[in-house]
């Protein structure tokens, strides 16, 4: 409850002052002057941004910050991370405390406009899903009329849940629990019929926390759209372009089959698309105000989109996520980079 009120306060403050937040000079100049990119991240979201045992940040959101560092400085370590709570994140960006907000932030109309943010391309398409015990005998979300639903409070998850059931004309009994650990424990103890949370977290919750993972199924329906991506401040188009194209470069690299392992060979490629991307044919870097090796440095030090995805949240990680919507457009996903030319 407290979190919810604070989040609302934070958003209200951010909206009130968002439109007027002016920017002192181009961000790129300031970033180059201090020698690193300041990046706002989640203090702990498994697979997206969390410190490992040695205190180094890892995760999908974190890697896109590193990619920006690599594009600007040729060094993926030229990034400093600011862990931000949900309430702080927009103020931190508006006040100039951070340069990029890469903190599983859902792209929405009001955030894009009245909060004064510019959203770079979505790096992860998430959505809210349902998990049920197999013994319930349910295979679609539409059969959940009258179910008891475990949900974590203070998030949009709770609101989406109510919206979905209302729109389908169904009823439900919410069991609202504040803490992540407790809501999991309650569900696996049989306190409710259904558990709803972001689909990105669901598979890992099932595989690591369920007493017997095979007793539970994840329903195919997603009831909300959660496109997550980095955001920058309004009013600095140059820097916005850089962040946008850093992300597109990772997608383009995957589409062209360029990986961190083969990027050196690929610089000798005869494909004009690859030549332009890797700076063998100059021009792209200059257009962005960067070194011609910008994309080469991203791929060499951080990897292409597929590598970033697989390393942090893919099927070989404890999160075990399929590419699904996050696959390339050529594979039926939504990852589509405009031409690099």
């Amino acid at each position: 409850m407290k979190t919810k009120i604070l989040a609302a306060m934070g958003t209200a403050v951010a909206i009130a002052l968002g439109a007027s937040a002016a920017v002192a000079g181009p961000t790129l100049t300031a970033v180059k002057q201090k020698g690193f990119v300041q990046c706002g991240v989640n203090p702990g979201l498994p697979g997206f941004s969390n410190p490992d045992s040695q205190g180094n940040w890892q995760g999908l959101d974190v890697d896109f910050c590193r990619a920006v560092g690599a594009a600007i400085f040729g060094d993926a370590k030229a990034v400093r991370f600011t862990p931000l709570s949900a309430q702080q994140r927009f103020t931190a960006l508006q006040s100039g405390e951070i340069d990029i907000l890469s903190r599983n932030t859902t792209w929405s109309l009001t955030r894009d406009t009245s909060l004064g943010l510019n959203f770079a391309p979505t790096t992860f398409y998430d959505g809210q899903g349902f998990m049920v015990p197999k013994s319930l005998g349910v295979s679609h979300a539409t059969e959940l009329n009258g179910a008891t639903v475990c949900v974590q409070s203070g998030t949009t998850t709770e609101l989406n849940l109510a919206d979905y059931f209302r729109s389908k004309g169904m009823t439900f009994q919410p069991v609202v629990i504040e803490s992540f650990d407790e809501v999991n424990a309650a569900f696996f103890a049989g306190r409710c019929d259904v558990y709803t949370t972001d689909a990105s977290g669901m598979a890992s919750i099932r595989s690591t926390l369920a007493p017997n993972p095979d007793d539970y199924i994840i329903l195919p329906e997603l009831i909300s759209k959660e496109p997550l991506g980095p955001a920058v401040r309004h009013g600095d188009d140059e820097f916005f372009d850089i962040v946008k194209w850093v992300i597109y470069a990772t997608m383009e690299a995957e589409e062209r089959g360029i990986t961190s392992a083969n990027v050196d060979e690929q610089t000798k490629s005869q494909d004009p698309n690859v030549q332009r991307l890797l700076g063998t044919t100059p021009g792209m870097g200059q257009a962005l105000g960067l070194n011609e090796k910008w994309a080469y440095n991203i791929i060499k030090t951080v990897g292409n989109y597929g590598e970033i995805f697989d390393r942090n949240v893919g099927v070989k990680t404890p999160l075990k996520l399929e590419r699904g919507l996050n696959g390339l457009w050529t594979n039926g996903g939504l990852m589509y980079a405009p031409p690099v030319r």
């Binding site: 934070g10 709570s85 650990d181």
Partner: protein, 379 residues
């Protein structure tokens, strides 16, 4: 029942006066059995309570021991998160894997000997200050020197130590720094506020009253929220004040208001005669306050002061809402490693243990100090 027994016993003795029977104590009134009877089963209500508690203990303790000890997974060769998930007991291997993250947060791994020294130094300084024989002006000098050493070790950047920005500070050193610096700065401030509130000067008095009531009227979480979210928006663009400093100032403001009220309670408990006696000796206001009133007032406020200290030490964990990795938030961050999710019981127990040690010693020390300072007029 007991009465009846003794009457019967008495009757027997008077009928046939055998000395052996007279000396033999009733087995149910003395010894361990007697103790049990007198303390655990002395009436029907206590008997039911005892049985209930025994039953609860039987239900709780064996599974708890199983979890804590017998089924637990200790760190060792080839022990992974999979071993832990299979065992069903406590996963102490998790603590072994993550203790450096929990204790030192994001501080660079190779440089973590520096925060270790800082923790030892702060504990040493606190231990030194516990001894009343060292309550001399030079102790302030020792604290100042200690502060410089702590700052040097934590930040580095000189003497060949690599620079570590304070955004990377975390864990136990951060908790200790936030609470010790907070209390050390807030304490003199709170004395001033308490004196100001009892002052006859109208402006000083109203300023102090306003400040104290304003800060006490809002929760700490709001003060921190203001300091970290609202405050930066009032600054000109491009000017940012360090996040840690903002949190520290917020904590100081909060602690000083609460401590001021505790000290004011002590000031009010001093009999009026003491003030009048000091006045009649011709002492100035500061002499009177410094030599007569404050020493007495502070010594009687030790229990509530330490109570506030302990509360404040734990309150620092609220900095979690502004994304600082203090001990508590670092333990939560340790749980977000995808490979080690779900071992929250172990993580929280570890942190609770550390908090307990600090709070327990504070509490014990205050009891000891109370006895020391009250020798003269113990009631």
């Amino acid at each position: 029942m007991a009465d009846n027994l003794s009457i019967q016993g008495h009757a027997t003795v008077s009928d046939s006066p055998s000395p052996a029977e007279m000396v033999k104590p009733p087995a149910l009134a003395l010894g361990p059995l007697g103790w049990v009877r007198a303390n655990l089963f002395n009436n029907w209500f206590n008997s039911i309570l005892t049985i209930l508690i025994l039953w609860l203990a039987y239900k709780v303790i064996p599974p708890l021991l199983d979890w804590l000890v017998f089924n637990s997974v200790l760190p060792g060769e080839g022990v992974t998160n999979q071993t832990c998930r299979a065992s069903g007991g406590a996963c102490w291997a998790f603590i072994h894997e993550k203790y450096r993250l929990i204790l030192f947060g994001l501080y660079p791994y190779e440089e973590q000997w520096r925060p270790i020294l800082v923790v030892l130094l702060i504990i040493g300084l606190l231990g030194l200050s516990c001894n009343r024989n060292f309550w001399r002006p030079w102790l302030l000098g020792v604290w100042a020197a200690g502060g410089i050493v702590v700052a040097t070790l934590m930040w580095g950047g000189i003497l060949g130590l690599p620079f570590v920005p304070n955004t990377l500070w975390g864990g136990l050193p951060l908790t200790l720094i936030l609470s010790v610096v907070g209390l050390v700065v807030a304490f003199p401030l709170s004395i001033m506020l308490a004196l100001g509130r009892r002052s006859d000067l109208p402006i000083v008095k109203s300023l102090c009253v306003t400040y104290i009531e304003l800060i006490r009227g809002v929760p700490l979480i709001t003060v921190l929220f203001m300091a970290s979210v609202m405050f930066p928006l009032f600054l000109p663009t491009g000017v940012t004040i360090d996040k840690l400093l903002r949190a520290q100032i917020g904590l100081i403001l909060f602690a000083s208001a609460y401590l001021a009220e505790v000290i004011r309670g002590g000031l009010q408990a001093i009999p009026k005669g003491q003030y009048e006696a000091a006045d009649s000796l011709g002492l100035s206001y500061w002499q009177k306050t410094g030599k007569i009133i404050l020493p007495q007032a502070l010594s009687i406020t030790i229990p509530p002061l330490v109570n506030t200290f302990i509360g404040f030490f734990k309150d620092t964990s609220l900095v979690i809402i502004i994304g600082l990795f203090d001990l508590m938030s670092a333990s939560k961050a340790a749980l977000t490693d995808p490979a080690w999710r779900g071992f929250y019981k172990e993580s929280y127990m570890f942190v609770a243990f550390i908090y307990f040690i600090f709070c327990f010693f504070m509490s014990k020390y205050s009891q000891w100090l109370e006895v020391q300072l009250h020798r003269g007029h113990k009631r």
